[in-house]
Each structure stands twice: as structure tokens, then as C-alpha cells.
């Protein structure tokens, strides 16, 4: 018995010893070649540009590589190596990259992160290059405003695509209840419509229709979902001088209370509050909700066939339309997000990286990528393309951009966001009724806490 085992072990340990004794450096080198060969540059004359993107489409790397093929054909000396980083880990990875010299050459940054990553001083100043391409005229003004740290006059990132939200609704439900787009035009009408749908208790294809789907706290977009309502009631997150929090103004509170109140009144089904946006979208596609808010990427999903993971051909895909966010007492707003491209200071191939960015922000590439991902290009001239002018649904989004607003690109915004997300999350949990009956007072107390905390933070970071 022992002998049998001992042979087995001897082989194992001989292997272990061999791998150790074979010299860790040579060993490491060999492994390096296996794992990171492209990063070091596979051929002598080809410069490898490393690029990090978030999963913008179901096949993030393949789709972008397909787009970049056009670039690599005309620029034989440059090869772009695309890595996909999930949103959850992206900030962590970008942070660690920012403090090292081993950052990728190009990185996709969510517009709300531009401020905080610019503050680390890890991004290349793109001001002269941007001026040369006349960037301030080319891109949408709202998008261009996210190009650098607010107040620094420095351009650290170039807009890539934008992402406005609008209301998706089921036309068959609306038709049945004799509703039209005009019935979701402002807050009062919107609420009346929700009530009408709830009272009608429609059953279509065996599914009972709930009025509105909204994700609760388990989501990336907790803040983006609430923001339009705060803005539309005249409120804001941070005062115009960027020094104090502004959630506790009556206007801000009204916005939050109106929106969260929709859940308390039962227009948003409780079960939707534990889902994330993707799940809510899937349920909308399945026919559960009459309405929900999402980005134009959803149109793409509704056009993708079922076999490929989309919802094309479903009942919803055939009976849906898009409308603008309802107008609040102080106007119509939508959260305006999106992503920019930045070059890291540590990059050794800045000129080549810039060429890649220039290619990606060219009209053709922008349109092509918009078609793959479903996002909206950041270039103004793209909207004249038939892709937008001819499609009535996509057209709504180009209109929604006009009402787009985003958070201040200040360096403190990074830390502010988790605070807001946490407290709004708690408000959502209360609206879900897990702590007993919901009362608007919870909104007051949570927003008050948020204000205090954000104020401490803003004071601290000044």
C-alpha cells in the first residue's frame, strides 16, 4: 500500500521539484510568452495598442475587433488588442491601472468616471490634439462637456458614444386602453396612464400586464434612474458652486418622492425592485410590463433574433414604441451617459493610440459601432444619417439627447456616487415594503443623511 502511494508521490514531487529547479526566471519567461506575448509586441514593426472596453454589446471583443479591422487595414503598423472588462470590476481595474505605469494605451471611461480618473493625473492631456480635430464643434455639446475635469479646461478624454434614456412602451396595451404617446407627456398624465393600465388588469398572451418596470437597488443604474425625476422637479444633486449637496431642497425631494411613490402606489410591481436593468428589460420583452425606461441599446436587442439571445420576433418586439421622459414641473430631462476614450500617460504609443481614437470617432466607425451596439454616436453629423432619420424609434433618442443632462465631472463625484446609491437603495427597499409600510418620511430622512454625508465628503476633498 505504502509502496503504491510512494511511487505516485515521488512522481508528483519530482515534477514539483523539477518545475522549481528549472529556474524560476526561465520558467517565468516561458510562461510570459504563453500568457502575454501579444502585449509585448509579437512582431518587430507592429505596434500593439492595448485597449480596454466594457461589454458594450453581447460579444464585446469580437464586435469591436470587427470594427477595427477597417483601421488595421489602412494602418498596417498598428494592431489593437481589445480586452473586455466588466462594469463591476472596471473601476477597480482602471484605478489600479491609473496608479501604475502598466495601464492600457486606451481605455473606455464611463462619462461619470472621467472626473475622478482625470484627478489621478494618469490621463494624457489631449487638449492640443482635440483642438486640431476641432473636437468641440464635432461632438454633441452635452457629451463634450464630459471630456475633462470640470473647471480644469483640460481635455482628457474624447467622447465615443452616448447613451440617453427614454420610455419604452407597449403599443398594443396603449391601443387597447386608447392611450397615445401624448398620455405620457408629463408627470400628471404619466401617473394617470399608469393608473389606467393598473386598473385595466389586462392579460395579453396569458401574461398580466404591470404598468411600469423599474429596477431597485441591485443595479448599476440606481442613480441614473432617479436623476431625471430630480432634475425635472427642479432639483439637483450638487449646488451650482459644487460645494454643497442639494438633495434636500423641496424640489429634489418632490422628484424622488414622485418616482419612488409610483412603487408605493403599486404602479411599479414590487417584484421588479430586486431586479437589475437587464432583467427588467428581459421581463419587458417577455410582456410583463407596459412601460420601462432604457437606453437605445434595447432597440437593438428587440431586433436581434431569439436564437441569438435577443428578443426579436417576440410580441413585445412587434408592439413597442419609444417616448421621451415625462415632463416634470421644471422641464424634461433624461440622464445622459455614455463613454469616452482616454489615453493613459504611461502609454508608449500615444500617437498610434490617438490614431485609433480618431478612427473610432470618425463618422463611419461611429455609425457602424452604433449599429452593432445600439448606442448613439457622440458625433453630431451622424444624426443626419438615414439610420437615425428614417427610424422613428431611434429618432426619439436623438431628440432625447436634447434633454440630456449629466452629473458634474468633478473629482469628488466618484466617492459621491456610492453614497447616493446606498441611500437611494435603502429608499427602494422601503418602497418594496420589506421594512413594513412605506412612508414618504423615509425619503426625507434618508436624503437628509445623504446630504450630510455628501457635504462631509465635498468639504474633505476641497
Amino acid at each position: 500500500m505504502i509502496e503504491k502511494n510512494s511511487k505516485f508521490i515521488q512522481v508528483g514531487l519530482a515534477l514539483a521539484a523539477f518545475s522549481m529547479l528549472s529556474g524560476s526566471q526561465a520558467f517565468a519567461k516561458r510562461l510570459d510568452q504563453a500568457a502575454a506575448a501579444p502585449a509585448a509586441g509579437s512582431a518587430k514593426n507592429v505596434k500593439v495598442i492595448r485597449m480596454w472596453v466594457m461589454p458594450n454589446s453581447p460579444r464585446p471583443v469580437k464586435d469591436l475587433e470587427k470594427l477595427l479591422k477597417g483601421f488595421e487595414k489602412t494602418h498596417p503598423g498598428i494592431k489593437v488588442e481589445v480586452t473586455s472588462v466588466d462594469w463591476g470590476a472596471a473601476l477597480t481595474k482602471l484605478t489600479t491601472a491609473a496608479i501604475s505605469k502598466q495601464a492600457p494605451d486606451i481605455a473606455q471611461l464611463g462619462t461619470t468616471w472621467v472626473g475622478v480618473i482625470s484627478a489621478t493625473n494618469a490621463l494624457e492631456d489631449l487638449t492640443p490634439r482635440a483642438k486640431a480635430m476641432n473636437a468641440s464643434q464635432i461632438f454633441l455639446p452635452a457629451s463634450w462637456s464630459t471630456a475633462g475635469l470640470q473647471g480644469s479646461n483640460k481635455v482628457t478624454s474624447i467622447p465615443w458614444f452616448v447613451d440617453a434614456r427614454a420610455l419604452y412602451f407597449r403599443t398594443d396595451v396603449f391601443r387597447k386602453l386608447k392611450l397615445t404617446k401624448a398620455d405620457v407627456d408629463d408627470w400628471a398624465k404619466f401617473e394617470a396612464t399608469l393608473k389606467k393600465i393598473k386598473d385595466a388588469k389586462l392579460v395579453i398572451n396569458g401574461v398580466e400586464i404591470e404598468p411600469l418596470g423599474v429596477p431597485g437597488k441591485n443595479d448599476w443604474n440606481v442613480l441614473h434612474n432617479v436623476a431625471p425625476w430630480i432634475w425635472a422637479s427642479g432639483g439637483d444633486f450638487i449646488s451650482p458652486d459644487l460645494k454643497t449637496a442639494a438633495f434636500t431642497t423641496p424640489a429634489s425631494k418632490e422628484g424622488v418622492k414622485f418616482f419612488i411613490g409610483l412603487a408605493a402606489k403599486g404602479y411599479i410591481p414590487r417584484s421588479s425592485l430586486e431586479l437589475n436593468t437587464a432583467q427588467v428589460a428581459a421581463k419587458f420583452n417577455e410582456g410583463d410590463y407596459a412601460m420601462y425606461f432604457d437606453t437605445p441599446a434595447q432597440i437593438k436587442l428587440l431586433e436581434t433574433p431569439y436564437e441569438k439571445g435577443g428578443a426579436g420576433g417576440s410580441l413585445t418586439a412587434q408592439n413597442y414604441d419609444v417616448a421621451l421622459y415625462p415632463k416634470g414641473p421644471k422641464g424634461r430631462f433624461t440622464f445622459f451617459g455614455g463613454s469616452n476614450l482616454a489615453i493613459f500617460k504611461s502609454s508608449k504609443n500615444k500617437d498610434e493610440a490617438w490614431q485609433v481614437i480618431q478612427y473610432l470617432t470618425s463618422k463611419e466607425a461611429q455609425l457602424s459601432y452604433a449599429e452593432t451596439t445600439g448606442f448613439i454616436p457622440a458625433r453630431k453629423d451622424c444624426f443626419e444619417d438615414p439610420y437615425f432619420t428614417k427610424d422613428p424609434k431611434r429618432k426619439i433618442f436623438t431628440e432625447a439627447i436634447k434633454y440630456g443632462r449629466t452629473y458634474p465631472t468633478i473629482s469628488a463625484w466618484g466617492p459621491v456616487e456610492p453614497i447616493l446609491m446606498r441611500h437611494i437603495g435603502i429608499i427602494w427597499d422601503n418602497a418594496a415594503g420589506v421594512y413594513g409600510k412605506y412612508s414618504p418620511k423615509i425619503v426625507d430622512s434618508q436624503l437628509e443623511k445623504t446630504r450630510k454625508e455628501v457635504n462631509t465628503l465635498l468639504k474633505d476633498s476641497r
Binding site: 425592485l273 437589475n276 466618484g414 453614497i419 446606498r422 427602494w428
Partner: protein, 314 residues
Amino acid sequence: MATVSLKTRVYKNRHAYYFILPTLLGMLLIHFVPMVQAVYMSFLGLNQNTIGLYLAAPFVGFEHYKDILFNPDSLIRISGLSEAARNTFIYTIVVTFGTIFVGLIVALMLNRKFKGVAVFRTLFILSWVVPQYVTGLLWNFMWQRDVGIVNYILVNVTGLLNEKPFWLIGPNTLWAIIIPTIWRGWPFNMIMLLAGLQNIPETYYDAAKIDGASTLQQFRYITWPLLKPVWAILIFFGLIFNVYSFNIVYMMFGLGAGYPGEWGDLLMTNIFRATFSAWRYGAGAAACVILMILMITIVLIWDRIFQDEITVQK
């Protein structure tokens, strides 16, 4: 012995040093040096503006420690650190003792002679083989209110509850992370306890039976005390692993998308968020250091309690 000089003792045991040398070098590089840096980091005002400077960032002394311990309005505390601490406390206690309890019961069941005992033993361990990240993803999906299998079993199949409860929001969240952790963790404890049980000589029980002791009494006076070395170690493992539990919560809640909620957040996920999403590197390091000191204290207390049974080599 005492009279032998240090030099001779070192020479006599020189082989021991050869044996531990590789480990020592690795630990020096990966444990010691970074740890010193990290502790130093906890005294620095490292945030998004100063991270580029790293160790040259402004020195703030014990400010982070003061903030964490005494200032509930401080930036590190406001992201729910105290709730996370409370959750971690409950989580650790329940999971540690829960895994031992379940493990012990199954071990007692398996410590009988019947056909197929080996098959049962193997099958019982399978849940321990499932990786933690899979556990998080899988149970996240099982806990879903409307479409999850748990509520389906509770409401539709067995009718134990009338209405589908939320598991992933509200106070139930704590159970939603405790139960998967116990599910994943108990088989290991079971194997250890089973081994302990099999080491107890049959003669003890025979003697007890002659004395007319009931099954319960046999357990109370023979099994439990003789298993003490095993469960003492299991408590030790449990405390360390569960306080530093990260993967299950991280994977279960939107993959770091948001806040797992007042009842779903653990210390590690909280500090991870504070460090990387809210950019409080210095304060995050300080929180880790405090936690570490706390853990060492707890382990010392543990050692004091169980020192007779456990020969942790001194």
C-alpha cells in the same frame, strides 16, 4: 538543553532552515513587505487625488483609525461600515456554528455501519467542491423572488408560506448569504468530525451502555468532549474564513453593481467598495488593520480557551 549555545542549536538544526528557506523568502516578499507598506498606507491620506503619489501621500497619523472607531459621520463610516460589521458578526457566528452543527449531525448519521456508507460520504462532500463564485451566482438565481426555485418550493410546492418573500432585499438578505455559505461549507466540517468520531474507541460506548446511559447521555459525556479538539479547530477555521468572506456576496449582488443592502453587506465587500469605488485607500487600509488586530485578539482568546486540547506548537 538550555546550556547549549544558540550557535550549536542553529548548526544542529541547519537542515530545518534549508527546509523552510523557500517559504521564508516567499513570505517575506509577498506577506511581510506589502504588509508593512499597507500598514504605512493606513496612516496616509490616500484618495483619488493623491494615489499617484502612493507612499509619498500626506501623512495623517491616526486620523483614519479615529474616524473608523469614533466618528460615525466620517467618510469611511458612512458607507455602511457599522451595518457591515454587524452583519459580519452575525454571519460569522451563525455560519461557523451552523456548519459545525450540520456537519456533526450528518457525521453522526454516517458514523454507522450500513451498506453504501462510502457512496453517501462522497456525495455529501459534493457541495464543498462547488466553487464559491459559482455558489454566489447559483444562489442569487435561486433566491429570486418571482422566478427563484426557493420561493417556488416554499409557496407553490409545499405551501409553507402564503406570499413569496423577498430574499435579496431587506433583512432576509442576511439569510440569503448565510444559507449558501453553510451549504458550501459544512461538508468539510463533516469530514473532520467524522474522522474524530471514528477515532473514539468503541469500548467507551460499550462501557456506557453497560452503565445504562441513554444515547443522548452517551453523546453528552463521551462524544462531545472527545471531539473537542476537532470542533475547536473548526471554530478557529470558521472564524477566520467567515470574517474574511468575500466571493459569495460579491458575486451574488449584481457583481459589485451596487450596494448589497443594509443586511447583505459584509466587512470585506464594504471595505473593498470603500477602497476601489469610493477611492478611500488609506482609510480602507486602516479598516483592514483594525480588523486584523481584532482577529488576532479573537484568536488569542480562542487559544487561551482551547490551549489544553490544541497543541499549537509553541
